[in-house]
């Protein structure tokens, strides 16, 4: 992990002393300005969170006590020097704040928007531990600093790749791959990122909708990596277009597999292949990557009158909110556990509800019914109740006998998780894979059973968050750098 900045530097001490802790404690947590629900559902791409103003950001930064032992940092999977960047904001050095972020994160403008901070850094903030206390809004501040830097047009770091540098291939351009590529490029390694799709960004592009993460933000972050010397190759499926063996022969000496958790899961219930029932991956890809529903896009998508979304994660919320923006009359999220058990971020659930999504918790689909043309018309659901806690401590839902009833729906989006994409594991001989199909790695170096291949993100974890995937990318970059001769 990165070394923390020196909290005893003169400016830092002066900043700390400029306001007594009691006054810092008295400041209320900033509220992120948001576009009003009625306006945002009418505008597909409009980002819901508008971002803090400089004044709001500096005031929020004052809430940070600059603790001797910053426990917040322990909660960050990539080890961002949180007090370091927050204090830069407090003293008005926004670009410096961004520079501190960049030492640990290749994509701060992304993390500031999509990280579940409330379960990471902010959960560990000392202020959150006091009764009724609220954490410093670290995520909002991160986004503020990253956006300030992007808006300033400030030049990225110097390109450091040397001509005789080692060549590393990164497979997949999602958050994990970009994070690894950024760290390697900064260390002078020649990196090429291979992407199967026609756009760079992976799940940041095809998955997360523009109202949560504008594609322009992803493009700018990618552009910074490009200017740092990272090469990007689109339309290249490693394992199909070219094999790892062929890339070795072309001079690549290390590989980082960050190909993601490709395959959408379905529930295996009757009628799941009727028209109108689609995976969240398909639905979001059509809309986010292919622009379906916008003028000039050839890819079709259902507008949906009555939409049912199955699942309780962020992807389910993204799908439900997208359906509202495409004009659905009524959107119902069906989840088999209770609202408290939903894996989605609290903010996403709140936003979805404000926009008009309905929630039917403790309910699970058991079958789909279609019309004569094979188009879905109803979802048969049954009531659930929470039973014993499983090994993860989550209480397993149990069906309530005789509780089946039908919901009308002309589109159903199934967002119940993903499985690892088998293309890479299947194409590399000797690569150890778990029973679930994930690639097995050393948790410190991220090295696989094949000595020159490293892996991380969802292809290893089987389905996690952007920031955990980025943390893997960083660790793998470190592992690769340590393994290179000289």
């Amino acid at each position: 992990m990165e070394k923390m900045s020196d909290r005893n530097e003169a400016w830092r001490k002066a900043t700390r002393d400029s306001l007594p802790p009691r006054e810092r404690m008295a400041i209320e947590r900033v509220k992120m300005p948001e576009v009003a629900p009625a306006r945002r559902v009418a505008c597909r791409e409009l980002e819901v969170n508008e971002g803090l103003t400089p004044g709001m950001a500096r005031r929020e930064a004052c809430r940070c006590l600059d603790c001797v032992v910053p426990t917040c940092v322990e909660g960050c999977p990539v080890g961002v020097d949180i007090p370091g960047f927050v204090k830069e904001i407090e003293r008005g050095e926004f670009l410096q704040a961004a520079a501190v972020l960049r030492r640990a994160s290749a994509l701060p403008a992304v993390c500031g928007r999509v990280c579940p901070q409330e379960r990471q850094c902010e959960e560990r903030c000392v202020r959150a531990k006091r009764p009724g206390g609220e954490a410093v809004a670290i995520g909002h501040l991160e986004r503020f600093a990253a956006d300030a830097e992007l808006a300033s047009g400030a030049a990225p770091e110097e390109r450091v790749t040397s001509v005789d540098a080692a060549r590393v291939a990164v497979i997949g351009s999602g958050p994990s791959g970009l994070s690894c590529a950024g760290d390697l490029a900064r260390a002078g390694v020649a990196v090429t990122v291979f992407e199967a799709l026609h756009e760079i960004g992976g799940v940041l592009k095809y998955g997360i909708p523009g109202f949560r993460l504008p594609n322009g933000v992803v493009d700018e972050e990618v552009d910074r990596l490009r200017r740092l010397g990272v090469r990007f190759v689109t339309n290249f499926v490693v394992g199909m277009t070219g094999t790892v063996e062929q890339l070795r022969a072309e001079g690549f000496c290390r590989f980082y597999v960050s190909s993601g958790a490709g395959l959408p899961r379905f529930m295996g219930i009757p009628g799941e292949n009727y028209n109108g029932v689609l995976s969240s991956n398909e639905y979001l890809t059509r809309v986010n990557l292919m622009g379906a529903g916008s003028a000039g896009a050839d890819t079709p998508v259902y507008r949906g009158g009555r939409v049912v979304v199955v699942g309780g994660g962020n992807t389910a919320m993204d799908s439900a909110r997208t359906a509202l923006r495409l004009g659905a009359e009524r959107v119902t999220v069906v989840y088999r556990r209770g609202e408290r058990e939903m894996p989605a971020r609290v903010e996403e659930v709140r936003h979805a509800r404000e926009e008009g999504c309905e929630f039917l918790t403790l309910t699970n689909p058991v079958a789909y019914l279609a019309d004569a043309r094979g188009r879905v018309r109803q979802v048969m659901v049954q009531r659930m109740e929470l039973g014993e806690a499983d090994e993860d401590g989550r209480r397993s839902p149990v069906a309530v006998a005789g509780s089946e009833h039908a919901l009308d729906a002309d589109m159903v989006v199934v967002a119940v998780g993903v499985s690892p994409n088998p293309i890479i594991p299947a194409s590399v001989p000797g690569l150890d894979v778990s029973r679930r199909g994930t690639i097995t790695v050393d948790p410190v170096t991220m090295r696989t059973s094949v000595p020159d291949i490293y892996a991380g993100g969802d292809i290893v974890r089987g389905g996690a968050t952007v920031i955990l995937a980025m943390g893997d990318g960083r660790r793998a970059a470190r592992g690769i750098l340590d393994s290179l001769p000289g």
């Binding site: 199967a196 799709l197 277009t241 028209n275 689609l278 991956n281 896009a297 050839d298 079709p300």
Partner: protein, 268 residues
């Protein structure tokens, strides 16, 4: 961006494009497909590879202009570029020496049949091909099919070329006459459905190359799911070829029309 090296027409609506794609040309095997996209608003469309020339670094695609995207593709001329071409995708045909192989293609399905039939011929099989179309214009690549076949039966609905009748009539002709160890069928889903029903009655193992709708083509979206032997499979990564006797063709036919209403509203 992939350059179109040459373009010829089989008929007004069916074009053969030779597309620069050296990596695909090197890696592709019979049965593989590519995904292409035309223009920035373009859709990702799967097309089975009809042939490749590794030396020229090119692949051959046969495209029938039926929807928005295939029309855009057919409107491109030699020297123009296709915005994106990615592949080869899907599992390659499992080619083995079995004896006599009945290779059946309908319409533009004859194009992807060609490399498959060629591979079975090269593996030492007797290959009898049945190629069919509505009329003589729809029967394409007859010369090329002849080169990789021991015998060719041509069928047209209207009798304008070869014999009058459906592809299944041609298949019956061969099956009633000689021992057939395996069949391969490529063509419209409805043709494959009836071809599979025929070979099932005769107990002939049959492969069908499915033309499901896709978005990414790498297993990510599940648009191409199809029921095979009671299990849901993804055409893009588990196929495109499956045991024809296990495929639920009625479901495939229904799913091929999944966005018909949305698409027709897009074609002005």
């Amino acid at each position: 961006m992939n350059k179109i090296l040459s373009k010829t027409y089989f008929s007004e609506r069916v074009a053969r494009l030779e597309v620069e794609a050296p990596l695909v040309a090197r890696a592709r095997r019979p049965g593989n497909f590519v995904i292409v996209r035309v223009g920035e608003g373009g859709e990702r469309v799967p097309l089975t590879i009809a042939g490749a020339d590794e030396r020229r670094g090119s692949i051959t695609l046969v495209v029938q202009a039926v929807g928005v995207s295939t029309r855009k593709l057919c409107a491109l001329e030699a020297g123009d570029h296709i915005t994106d071409v990615v592949g080869p995708l899907g599992r390659a045909t499992h080619v083995e020496r079995v004896g006599t192989v009945l290779a059946c293609g309908g319409g533009v399905g004859i194009a992807p049949l060609l490399p498959i039939a060629t591979a079975f011929k090269e593996a030492g099989n007797r290959v009898v091909s049945v190629i069919a179309g509505r009329g003589r214009e729809q029967v394409i690549l007859e010369e090329e099919i002849r080169r990789c076949s021991d015998e060719v039966v041509v069928m047209t609905d209207d009798g304008s070329l070869g014999r009058a009748g459906l592809v299944t009539d041609g298949m019956s002709l061969v099956i009633d006459r000689e021992r057939v160890d395996m069949a391969v069928v490529v063509g419209p889903a409805v043709m494959m459905k009836f071809a599979a029903a025929l070979t099932r009655r005769h107990g002939i193992r049959t492969l069908a190359s499915l033309n499901a709708l896709m978005v990414d083509g790498t297993g990510m979206c599940g648009a191409c799911r199809v029921t095979v032997g009671g299990r849901t499979r993804f055409t893009c990564v588990d196929g495109p070829e499956f045991d024809a006797h296990e495929v639920d063709f009625d479901e495939l036919l229904s799913r091929l029309g999944a966005f018909r209403d949305e698409e027709t509203s897009g074609i002005k």
